[in-house]
Amino acid sequence: MNPLTYEKATSSTDALERHDGDAAKFLGAGTNLVDLMREGIATPTRLIDVTGLAQSIEEQSDGGLRIGAGVSNTAVAEDATVRAQYPALSRAILAGASAQIRNMATVGGNILQRTRCSYFYDVAGSRCNKRSPGEGCDAIGGFNRAHGILGVSDSCIATHPSDMAVALSLYDAVINVESDEGTRSIPINDFYVLPEDTPDIENQLNPGELIVSVDLPAPSANRRATYRKVRDRASYAFALVSVAGSLIIKDGLVVDAGISLGGVAPKPWRAIEAEAAIVGSPPTEETFRNAAQIALADATTQPGNVFKTELAQRVIVAVLQDLAGDAQ
């Protein structure tokens, strides 16, 4: 066995140099990684602390915003520009976890946090294809009230737990990553991959690739956006269903609509077809109901989570109606 080591990276180049293969892991605030190590799910031998890097939020010349991967979730939620221009992002973050955890958690770590599926965590007693590929999935046919209904597969029905990422998806954020081979930018809506029969692969990041920042495109004028999360208690619980939604209404018609769903899929789920169905229509309940139908048309449910289809539809309608109401 190799000893576990801890080292603090001084720059992104330094971090990449130190990353020497599968056994190394970048360490954000550790709110997910430390937990996964305790459970024996993550077993790195080398921890490379990247919290000191990429600590700034900068306005870009094109009017967008670049958020460093090491910025804390609290700092993003409280940033004046984020609150004014990207309100759904601020709300999504504040709807997640607790103040203590948001103070620690980094943007990079939040995007990469792993599922909260209890079978994934139950190393000794349950089968899980995400944890041990090919083993089987005990969540299917098991206790799956919290599990996914969109984009799921026969091998995995786990959801991505992040609230923040749902809002990033709504705003078409772009994730900037660095590796030995250089830098690349991946739109968040392409970043996560669906489980199909390899649920252990969750995103496009290659081993050793470092997230350095997230870009938010320049805000569109007159776009209203919000975030709503339905959960079992008032705070500090993962979403049963959440929706980040946005509308631009002009002359009584919707000219732009955005819907991204959380708590229902292995990734933040952009409902592209539903969005398209709204554009050009008046912002009425009927329009929104129709869109909600479309958004959930492909839902595959389990006995434990059938309720999510209707709930997701209702949250979509409620969010869009709120936005339409605000616009009037």
Partner: protein, 911 residues
């Protein structure tokens, strides 16, 4: 983690002082602070970011120390409660405010709460309630219901006031200071540095057979100090709280009966444990088909869990009077229903923990417990030792609510200490605690009730099955209590109630605040509402019509001549009921999606054991220097026994409460004050304390030959009595000291007068009942199915409020637990074994609570007082369900009423 590691020294600032420590990679800051640097004011409730008990300030910002890698604090500033309390005026003021509001009950959450609050108060002198909720939203409290914490942080006017603490006055907790300055020592805070540690090997399956490979060679190869299995048990491998039902092994042999059941334990150094991978332990499991619900368990051919318990029926309970069937036939209207509830987890923030050592050849166990003498009884059997060879020294208890009545860590500690001869410690992980501790019984209840046109109940027929899990624990108590209580606090002359406890391969269900009564109350109080509405009678008036009264027999034929306070409780709700119902009606006229409803429910609870002796003994005395000492062995698990029992004793003796030196529970020192359960400590131990105080006073008055109403003062080696004739002095230095350094002493025992129940459940099961009624206003989002309680009014008949502030504290805490049970809590074995999959209410979930204290003096209680700890939660869940019904017309018959369930029911109703 299972890798060796190189430790590296880190330097940072701890409470403004430079600190250095060797940290291993990935080591948690919480562990570094507690173990390497002795900062045990940082508490651990979950090690997963879920509870916030470990909150510290990192560069001034609250963070969870349990999720912070120790290395990441290099060069930064870390502050903990003890340091803040020492250095910061704001922290001291906040500590005072916590004391003045009773904001710390057990105190395990208090460091996390206060540290988070101090960070808020540094930037904001006058925070609003919402700001407090946001700042404290990540810290869970299972005791207080959060409202007193909010009051303490916003700086609301103090509730406790200075005074002599005589019965009826709100003084601060007498044991509260250490809870607010970080010095309170709970189960995991007492072990000496360098102790061996214990890790328990548990079944990953609900039912499994298992074999060990060569354990000796495992021990040799790894260098662990010891491996413990059933073979190491010198006495009997069995425990249980009810002698006739003892059935649980310390270590399972051959087959496990629930997930999390122990089969072995490893005893090793902390260095070994920090890299130990449990998967390397040489055990092979074979999963076997398990029975995980009571229906399957009762089917023909189901695996029988225990010899002699055919059909997996553990036992049952039965009460009948009059003729229930005839009463139902004669009814003008009847209602019936089928109600279900799941397992509920106690969710105390302190996991089971303790340490043990061998002292002069005797084994000493220091652990959190609700029942030290019962722990001793169990260890005596397991260890096969003479009683005199065992000492139980309870630590502070970070919440219990019933589950810490059963032994948990005690046998492992004692066995390991005896086998190694060295000090050993253990602290359960959150998952381990949730897997292995007892739960509230899931229930499956069928009930039919009928009433005549005037609204008088004519017949009542109840049948309830309870999943008691793999072992009996307190299951028989639940089975007995339920039929006695299922009527609710009402006069019902044609009654039949039968209960059964059924074994399954689930965790043992045991004692949890209310012993089955909260479950039966859901069925009964829900149907009362339905029946009232069917009859066209106001639900509150319907209850008043049927309320039990002085001189009217209960369903057990027991008649109380005084102290039946349910009518008073119900009438106290009338003003709020009328105004809130009208307000809800007005609100609903204009609101389409959000619907408001007002619900009420009542409850009662018999204090003490059901028809069984349960004496408490309290000893007191005077030291040669004139100090009065109270040997108080009743466990304070946050509910306030230390304060309340001292107040009672001091009142009886005629001195101020804060002048008493209290000696806490220790089986070598304090007489047996029984277990902290069944709402019995204020009543039973309180009475023993009253008797002891009176006896000591009598003794002194006799020895001094002064008037009965003489005023006594103690100190400086003498007692001064002042009566009409003037001052008399009693020089204590001339008296002989006994072996406990007492010159005067009085030991008294109290046992509640009860009578056994006959085969029809007729008799006198309890010497007293406490009574309660709750009103709740809820807003239901009919589109999402979410239910938001916005206000509670709670009326409780406590006979006499010994300390009104603490009464309120119990009411708030009970309501929070009842709300959790109603709306969010369900323990699914194997699935919700942590505090993010198993949700308990947060600070944001508990609305304002108005407490109305009713005092209908009890004939037996000390100064008329009745027990309170359990009826605080009984009416809450049905009141919420009734409010949902009032808001939406939907009758929820299963708890928890999660958004998914409520929405599904609304949709069904709309079809």
């Amino acid at each position: 983690m299972n890798k060796p590691f190189f430790s590296q020294q880190i330097a940072f600032e701890l409470n403004t002082q430079p600190a250095r420590a060797d940290a291993t990679p990935g080591q948690r800051l919480s562990e570094l602070l507690r173990e390497n640097l002795g900062a045990r004011d940082v508490k651990i409730g979950c090690d997963a970011g879920d509870c916030g008990a470990c909150t510290v300030l990192l560069d001034g910002q609250p963070v969870c120390a349990c999720l912070t890698a120790a290395h990441q604090v290099e060069g930064r500033s870390v502050e903990t409660l003890a340091g803040l309390y020492r250095a910061e005026e704001k922290a001291k003021r906040l500590a005072d405010s916590f004391q003045n509001h009773g904001a710390a009950q057990c105190g395990i959450c208090t460091p996390g709460m206060m540290v988070s609050a101090i960070a808020l108060l540094r930037n904001n002198d006058a925070p609003t309630e919402d700001e407090v909720k946001d700042a404290l939203g990540g810290v869970l409290c299972r005791c207080t219901g959060y409202r007193k914490i909010i009051d303490a942080v916003v700086g609301a006017p103090a509730i406790a006031h200075d005074g002599d603490g005589s019965v009826g006055t709100s003084i601060r907790r007498l044991d509260g200071q250490c809870k607010v300055d970080g010095t309170e020592a709970f189960g995991d805070d007492v072990a000496p540095v360098g102790c061996l540690e214990i890790f328990v090997i548990r079944s990953p399956f609900a039912r499994a057979s298992f074999t060990f490979e060569n354990l000796a060679s495992f021990a040799d190869a790894t260098g662990v100090e010891a491996v413990l299995t059933a073979d190491d048990i010198a006495g009997r491998n069995i425990f249980g709280v009810i002698p006739q039902f003892m059935d649980q092994p310390v270590f399972a042999e051959a087959e496990t009966r629930f997930r999390g059941e122990a089969v072995a334990a490893v005893v090793a150094t902390s260095e070994f444990m920090s890299t130990f991978d449990p998967r390397s332990f040489p055990v092979t499991w074979t999963e076997m088909p398990a029975t995980q619900n009571i229906h399957d368990a009762q089917k023909d051919g189901a695996v029988q869990l225990h010899h002699g318990r055919d059909g997996n029926v553990m036992c049952g309970g039965f009460v009948t009077c009059g003729d229930a069937q005839a009463g139902l036939s004669a009814a003008s209207k009847t209602v019936e229903g089928h109600f279900k509830s799941g397992f509920v987890e106690h969710g105390y923030i302190e996991p089971e923990a303790g340490f043990a050592q061998i002292v002069n050849g005797r084994v000493e166990v220091h652990a959190c417990t609700q029942a030290p003498v019962m722990d001793l009884d169990s260890l005596q059997i397991i260890l096969g030792l003479d009683r005199s060879q065992i000492r139980i020294v309870p630590t502070a208890v970070g919440g219990g609510f019933g589950s810490k009545l059963d032994i948990s860590v005690q046998p492992y500690l004692a066995l390991a200490a005896l086998k190694t001869g060295k000090p050993v410690r253990i602290c359960y992980s959150r998952t381990e605690s949730m897997q292995s501790s007892t739960k509230r019984h899931p229930s499956d209840i069928r009930l039919k009730i009928g009433a005549d046109a005037e609204g008088r109940i004519t017949g009542f027929d109840f049948y309830g099955e309870f999943d008691t899990g793999a072992y009996a624990s307190w299951g028989p108590t639940v089975a007995n209590r339920v039929p006695v209580h299922a009527s609710g606090p009402y006069a019902i002359s044609n009654y039949r109630a039968e209960s059964k406890g059924i074994h399954t391969h689930n965790p043992p269900a045991g004692a949890f605040r209310g012993f089955g009564v909260p479950q039966s109350a859901i069925a009964q109080e829900s149907l009362f509402d339905d029946l009232a509405r069917k009859l066209g009678i106001d639900p509150l008036e319907f209850r008043i019509i049927n309320a039990l009264e002085d001189g009217v027999p209960t369903v057990c034929g027991q008649v109380f001549d005084q102290g039946v306070g349910i009518t008073a409780c119900l009438k106290a709700l009338r003003p709020a009921w009328q105004s809130e119902t009208a307000a809800a009606k007005a609100f609903n006229e204009t609101s389409t999606t959000i619907k408001r409803g007002v619900g009420i429910a009542a409850g009662w609870y018999g204090c003490g054991n059901t028809s069984l002796p349960n004496p408490s003994t309290i000893k007191s005395g005077v030291r040669p220097d004139g100090r009065v000492v109270l040997y108080q062995g009743a466990m304070d698990i946050g509910q306030g026994a230390n304060t309340v029992i001292t107040q009672i004793f001091a009142t009886a003796l005629g001195v101020p409460a804060d002048s008493i030196s209290r000696i806490g529970a220790d089986t070598d020192v304090t007489p047996d004050a029984g277990k902290t359960s069944a709402s019995r400590q204020t009543y039973v131990s309180g009475n023993a304390a009253r008797l002891s105080g009176e006896a000591l006073r009598r003794l002194i008055l006799e020895r001094m030959n002064v008037a009965r109403d003489a005023e006594l003062t103690f100190g400086d080696g003498e007692i001064v009595a002042t009566d009409a004739e003037g001052e008399h002095r009693f020089d204590l230095s001339k008296l002989a000291c006994d072996d406990e350094r007492l010159v005067l002493r009085a030991e008294e025992t109290y046992d509640p007068p009860t009578r056994p129940l006959d085969e029809n459940g007729q008799g006198a099961p309890y010497a007293q009942f406490g009574y309660a009624a709750h009103l709740v206003v809820v807003d239901v989002d009919t589109a999402m199915g979410t239910v938001k309680p916005t206000k509670f009014v709670a009326a409780h008949d406590v006979g006499r409020a010994i300390n009104p502030m603490m009464v309120e504290g119990q009411v708030h805490g009970g309501i929070a637990q009842g709300l959790g049970m109603a709306l969010m809590e369900e323990y699914v074995p194997g699935r919700t074994e942590n505090l993010h999959d198993y949700l308990i209410p947060t600070i944001g979930d508990i609305p304002p609570i108005e407490t109305i204290i009713i005092e209908e003096p009890d004939a037996h209680g000390p100064y008329g007082a009745k027990g309170l700890g359990e009826h605080v939660l009984i009416p809450t869940a049905p009141a919420i369900l009734n409010a949902i019904n009032a808001a939406t017309g939907v009758r929820i018959t299963r708890v928890p009423a999660t958004p998914s369930l409520v929405r599904t029911e609304i949709r069904k109703a709309q079809r």
